[in-house]
Symmetry: C2
Subunit: 197 residues, 2 copies
Amino acid sequence: MGKIEEKKERKRRAIMSAARDVFRSEGFVLANMDRIAAEAQVTKQTVYRYFPSKIELFEATLKFMGESSEEHFMKHLENPDTRKALHEFARGFVQFHLSEEHLETFRLLVAESGKAPEITKAFFSVGPEDTGARLSRFFSERLGLSEPDKPMRLWTAMLLALRDGVLLGRARPTAREIEEHARTATDFLLAGISFEA
Amino acid sequence: MGKIEEKKERKRRAIMSAARDVFRSEGFVLANMDRIAAEAQVTKQTVYRYFPSKIELFEATLKFMGESSEEHFMKHLENPDTRKALHEFARGFVQFHLSEEHLETFRLLVAESGKAPEITKAFFSVGPEDTGARLSRFFSERLGLSEPDKPMRLWTAMLLALRDGVLLGRARPTAREIEEHARTATDFLLAGISFEA
DNA sequence: CAAGAATCATACTGATTAGTATGATTTTGT
DNA sequence: ACAAAATCATACTAATCAGTATGATTCTTG
């Protein structure tokens, strides 16, 4: 019964997947609907059957992208050694945010946020807001902080210190540099909140 | 003698000024040469007499933009009260980086850095690199740090914590929130480097 | 004032591209 | 098998826009 639904869903995904690649490498304005159709191995007509316009395809694609992220580093918070949990989360967090995958998405959002502000909402809710909420809980339960939000945000901000350069086209730091930066920032956090053992 | 040179220079600036406005509000790809010419109150031909192509106009305009920035907060470092110097610098730094002027420029750079990496070099040299060098000197001389770079970068990263949201279209924080954030981050820095008095 | 440069107004070329139209072919549920 | 829906291939429309062409007008300088 649901066979046709399933097939439609597969096709829908194939189109969004192709759209994601093209949008990432070209940005919204320069992305070409003919090319998206070609890469999805589908006719342009079919693309328009699933998505009524370029902008709506873009929005759907953004949501689609958000779904597959960020479990890369959340898992480290389950480590029973609190200090280790923080250090390992930090490394994963920095790695993820410096990955080409994430940076391309971020560039896209920055570039288009002015013209379509509603687009960024989906990103925030599956991204920073979710991460922030989980981190806050960790800071509260495991570090015993009654006001976890401020230090949590300062910490994540420190962790993102390397991003601007990469975002603007500088060479990506090595794994070793990332590791060291994550450690430095985390030690700085622990010093700031006077965390013992 | 130099009268004609002077006039040419004025016209050159008028064109770049119009180009700056249009590039900021439209981005590079959507910016329209006809509109730039119109806003500069000049013929498109004249634009092309001064700048041989859209991309070269863009590069020149970026450099032009960079020239007029950032003295907003550097001056605070001259305050003889070290703690006050840091707090006031921090507030100015955050204010500047959350200003619409700076954010629009930053968005532009992020969006175009992929296609024209050389463009960002001018920005770095008049922006972050210069600020970083001066701050490093301050951290070394006034805070007595032998390794000033790491804490300096962590601090500026913390100061920029509010930027992502605004960059992606969220409401700009109030002056009061900016003030408080700058203070929190700076206190965190001072705690981290155990600065006394 | 006269010569030459700069600018103007206007129009054109050529390329790209979002979105539509059409008619043929394939896939689906029954 | 058969009707209906989906997809295909191909072509077209209409709009935008970088960059060029042309011929008239206005400044600048000597």
